[in-house]
């Protein structure tokens, strides 16, 4: 067993070690412990990049496994391929940023131990989610991330925190029960066909189902992931959760927890049920586009800046879904890029909202008219974020949107135009935000006293803004992560002999 393969367990254990120390050390060590451990994990992830074999990015690497329940074929098995590795990097990055941000956050003044404990816990759980190859293990991590987030929202959130926490937990918990049913059904099918239970991903992709059953299972999985992603009719938990959570909380929620949904859609729905995917593909694409459009409308009509950002991330998720189900190289590239990019931009935007609240003590759009005129650094960084999230060339989201359109064009012009319309909307609301922040006039007597962004917060902000530029300017670096994966997936989808053997 190669030492390299311990990467995932290590990066899951380190935060837990930190959590352990935090519990038993006095409170004045808490922040330091949290920062040290999360940055350790971040460094670990960075150092692991050279170890990752980009040539064979479609294959699973850093494979580590222990049998958990042999009789039912449950194994504690972790590995990364290009897709999940990218998500892993995003996780470590954003968790570090969130923890750094919390150090000086105005909300986080009480019960520090629990707070940082929950964040470290979330980080290790997320690594588990993106890394696990066993469906039950995946489900465990997927659902366990609810608990710390429930507490983060409920304890350190804003006014409506309890309500939002309930809503968040109940929506996702109940929807993921359908996922559980689906998973066990897949395992039972595997038992029927191969005579042994197994929850191992690469065993289960060998299953063949009659189309009806496959669509049924696809829907079971979809219910969970569509609520998690979210796609429009199922999105109502998100504005509350993101709106009421403390800044760092909404950062983690938007940047990582939503990615769990899309990642799982890509990996499990498409990976396990190719026939159903091909059958339902047009519907899914249109659904994605619809959710882009609706979410954008909702966004513009918001006057609470945090909910504004929340809705904007829904529309971005629409791009991810639409691109994913185009089922061609451009589309898949687009959706994965969008996942990563949105992880960065949305966290930056939420930090922006939190920062402004720190100065103005309000999320109200009218209240913060022109509010950042006298904070040049902050204003500059916000501008970068906004433009890249709006999809300007050179910005990170540009590739997501552009490639989606390109992928859609491969099918038909009209589809491409639809997506273009969606992109147009997102430009619209971002411009509206910028106008409010920069151009609107307001009596400036109070604004001049605002001190500019600095210290830990600046560091955290940069931590998420700089990679945005990297994504925008050198996309090919990231294509290297997942192009092999995409090609193998497409070949698996379309060259695979369909139907039952």
């Amino acid at each position: 067993m190669d030492l390299v393969n311990l990467l995932i367990p290590t990066s899951m254990l380190l935060p837990l070690v930190g959590a352990f120390f935090i519990i038993f050390l006095p409170e004045r060590y808490t922040k330091g412990m949290a920062v040290v451990l999360s940055s350790l994990v971040f460094l670990l992830s960075l150092m692991s990049i050279p170890l990752f074999d980009f040539k064979k990015a479609q294959t699973m690497q850093f494979y580590w496994h222990r049998p958990l329940l042999p009789e039912l074929g449950i194994t504690l098995s972790f590995a990364f391929d290009g897709l999940s590795y990218l998500m892993y990097l995003l996780t470590t990055l954003v968790s570090l940023a969130a923890i750094l941000w919390s150090l000086r956050d105005h909300q986080i003044t009480h019960r520090l131990k629990e707070y940082y404990l929950f964040f470290l816990l979330t980080e290790s759980l997320l690594v588990g989610v993106f890394g696990s190859l066993d469906l039950i293990v995946f489900y465990v991590f997927y659902e366990l991330t609810l608990v710390p987030m429930f507490f983060v929202i409920g304890v350190w959130g804003y006014k409506l925190r309890l309500y939002s926490a309930y809503k968040f937990f109940i929506y996702i918990f109940v929807s993921s029960l359908f996922l559980l049913l689906g998973i066990v059904t897949v395992a039972v099918e595997h038992y029927r066909q191969f005579g042994k239970f197994s929850f191992f991903y690469f065993d289960l992709i060998n299953n063949h189902y009659p189309l009806g059953l496959e669509i049924f299972l696809f829907v079971l999985f979809l219910i969970a992931f569509a609520v998690k992603t979210p796609v429009v009719p199922f999105h109502t938990w998100l504005p509350d959760a993101h709106g009421e959570a403390p800044t760092a909380g909404s950062v983690v929620l938007a940047a990582l927890l939503l990615k769990m949904g899309t990642y799982a859609l890509l990996r499990f729905n498409i990976g396990l049920f190719p026939e159903a995917t091909k059958f339902l593909m047009p519907f899914m694409v249109l659904w994605g586009i619809a959710s882009i459009v609706f979410a954008s409308w909702f966004t513009i009509s918001q006057n609470n800046v945090k909910r504004f950002v929340a809705y904007s991330s829904i529309s971005h998720m629409g791009f991810v879904v639409a691109g994913m189900f185009l089922l061609n190289q451009q589309g898949l590239r687009a959706s994965i890029m969008e996942m990563f990019a949105h992880g960065l931009t949305s966290s930056a935007l939420f930090m922006m909202a939190g920062f402004i609240y720190n100065r103005l003590h309000s999320f109200n759009m009218d209240a913060l008219k022109g509010s950042i005129k006298f904070m040049p650094v902050f204003a500059f960084l916000v501008a970068i974020t906004a433009y890249s999230s709006m999809g300007l060339p050179g910005g990170s989201s540009f590739w997501g949107k552009f490639l989606t359109i390109a992928g859609a064009r491969e099918y038909s012009l009209w589809l491409a135009l639809f997506v273009l319309g969606g992109a147009f909307f997102s430009v619209l609301y971002m411009l509206y935000l910028l106008k409010t922040l920069y151009l609107d006039t307001k009596e400036e007597s109070r604004l001049v006293h605002f001190s500019d962004m600095r210290g830990y917060k600046l560091f955290a902000f940069l931590l998420v803004v700089l990679p945005t530029l990297l994504v925008g300017l050198t996309p090919f670096l990231f294509f290297a992560f997942f192009d092999p994966y995409i090609t193998s997936l497409l070949s698996y989808l379309f060259l695979r002999p369909g139907g039952a053997p």
């Binding site: 659902e143 925190r161 926490a165």
Partner: protein
């Protein structure tokens, strides 16, 4: 007339005998000293149970049957007895504190505990209707008495009377069914009765249905659940914990034993009846628990709901279903006992009326207790990786194995409903301001026990192999015969 006397193989019954002797020793002491000291009673019973526990633990693999086949020891009975004795030992310290604090004069509690335990141990290890009947009565009567044990408390008496009436009804139904089965199979041994083939199965079905109804009352399945909340509410809380854990194991055991014997020619009846009962039970339990203000009653209804989940597993008369049921049963025993024991600790403080809102900010008074209770509630809710989750996942697995989709969907809905009240408790404990002027007292022993229980609830789920390695062979063997 001279009969052959098969001299019984008593080595199989040593745990039962030890428990019984403990009971009698306590009884004798109570007769000798008018006021038996709580400490003596506690330690004596602890020692007795510990001996039985260790003996079982070291002879866990012992199997066999004696007393002309009246008594059967197989892995399942060993597992259940192990869990029962362990839980009884856990309940004892709490009960001792509780009784001392409530100033109850009754020492009967200790030996009725022992007798109930012995009855339960016999109940889980026999196929013979008479033995089942006697053991059932032993458990039930001890429960009636223990429920009524609170001196001068009308609720306790009321709960006891309701429990008595419905319990009597259930026993009447069950034994009536037993009579029919005896008439059908010409034997009092369930194995022979259910293996017996006859073209006219009316008697068999009638008997089975009556028997099921009887046991359904005992386990609080829905059309017959009326007694359960009142009994659980009225009883002294440690007793409630005992009934919710050991009682549930004991009362489910015979049904679990019948389940592998179900045959094709009445399998349909079985599946339909049981699944309908289970669906009703889980929906009703969760819905009513949602509107409770009294936490004890809330947990009582949640225990009804869990009976529903377990019944859903029983509806699947397959080996996988049996495994799920066994796992879930043991899991619920742990969760239920922990939940009620937390209440038992809280009730010891003055001005505690057990209403929901009084839980606000408990975390600031006793963080460890709150932590333990949170884990237990999450387990009851079925959040991974707790035992509750593994149990539910297994039930889902067996349901989809039998293609009982509708039951599975109802179960999802029911779980969704249950989210409401469990979360409310957690949120109250951790996210609300503490109520002023309430002082709680908890002994270190209790603290350790509670944390141990809750961690156990998580660990057994996170590393399911421990429990599974006990559950799986039991199920296999039950199905082999």
């Amino acid at each position: 007339m001279n009969m052959v006397v098969e001299y019984p193989n008593l080595s199989l019954l040593i745990p039962e005998i030890v428990v019984l002797l403990t009971g009698f020793a306590l009884f004798t002491l109570d007769l000798i000293y008018r006021r038996l000291s709580h400490w003596v009673a506690l330690w004596l019973s602890l020692v007795g149970y510990l001996i039985a526990f260790l003996y079982l633990l070291f002879n866990i693999s012992a199997t066999g049957s004696t007393f002309y086949g009246l008594y059967v020891r197989d892995p399942m009975s060993s597992l259940f007895q192990l869990v029962m004795i362990g839980l009884t030992m856990m309940v004892l310290p709490f009960a001792q504190q509780y009784l001392k604090h409530r100033g109850s004069l009754y020492r009967e509690f200790y030996y009725f505990l022992a007798f109930a335990l012995a009855g339960g141990m016999f109940l889980v290890s026999s196929y013979n209707l008479v033995v089942l009947y006697v053991a059932l009565e032993a458990v039930s009567i001890s429960f009636y008495v223990m429920t009524a044990l609170l001196k001068g408390d009308f609720l306790s008496k009321e709960g006891a009377f309701k429990y008595l009436v419905l319990g009597g009804l259930s026993i009447a139904l069950a034994s009536y069914g037993a009579a029919f089965l005896y008439l059908y199979g010409g034997s009092l041994d369930l194995r022979e009765v259910l293996a017996f083939h006859h073209k006219d199965t009316r008697l068999l079905v009638a008997g089975l249905v009556l028997l099921l109804m009887g046991f359904a009352i005992k386990i609080g399945a829905v059309p017959f659940h009326f007694w359960l909340p009142d009994a659980y509410h009225g009883a002294p809380t440690p007793v409630t914990a005992y009934m919710a854990s050991v009682g549930k194991l004991a009362f489910f055991a015979p049904v679990v034993r019948i389940m592998p014997l179900v045959q094709e020619h009445f399998a349909n009846t079985w599946v339909i009846t049981v699944s309908i009962i289970s669906v009703l039970t889980m929906l009703y339990g969760n819905l009513v628990a949602l509107v409770q203000r009294d936490v004890k009653r809330m947990l009582a209804y949640s225990s009804i709901a869990h009976s529903g989940y377990i019944m859903a597993g029983i509806a699947v008369a397959q080996v996988i279903g049996l495994k799920a049921v066994l796992y879930f049963l043991v899991a619920y025993a742990f969760m239920g006992v922990a939940g009620f024991l937390v209440l038992a600790v809280l009730e010891r403080s003055q001005e505690w009326r057990g209403y929901l809102e009084e839980f606000s900010g408990v975390r600031f008074h006793m963080p460890w207790l709150a932590f333990a209770f949170m884990l237990v509630l999450l387990a009851l809710l079925g959040v991974p990786p707790t035992v509750g989750f593994v149990g539910k996942a297994l039930v889902f697995l067996s349901l989809s194995y039998e293609k009982l989709w509708w039951v599975a969907f109802v179960m999802i809905v029911a779980t969704g409903i249950s989210t409401g009240y469990y979360l409310r408790l957690i949120a109250l404990m951790f996210m609300k301001e503490p109520v002023k002027g309430v002082e709680f007292r908890i002994t270190p022993v209790e603290k350790v026990l509670l944390v141990f229980l809750s961690v156990l609830v998580v660990l057994l789920g996170a590393v399911p192999i421990f429990l599974w390695s006990l559950v799986s062979p039991s199920a296999e063997i039950l199905f082999k015969r």
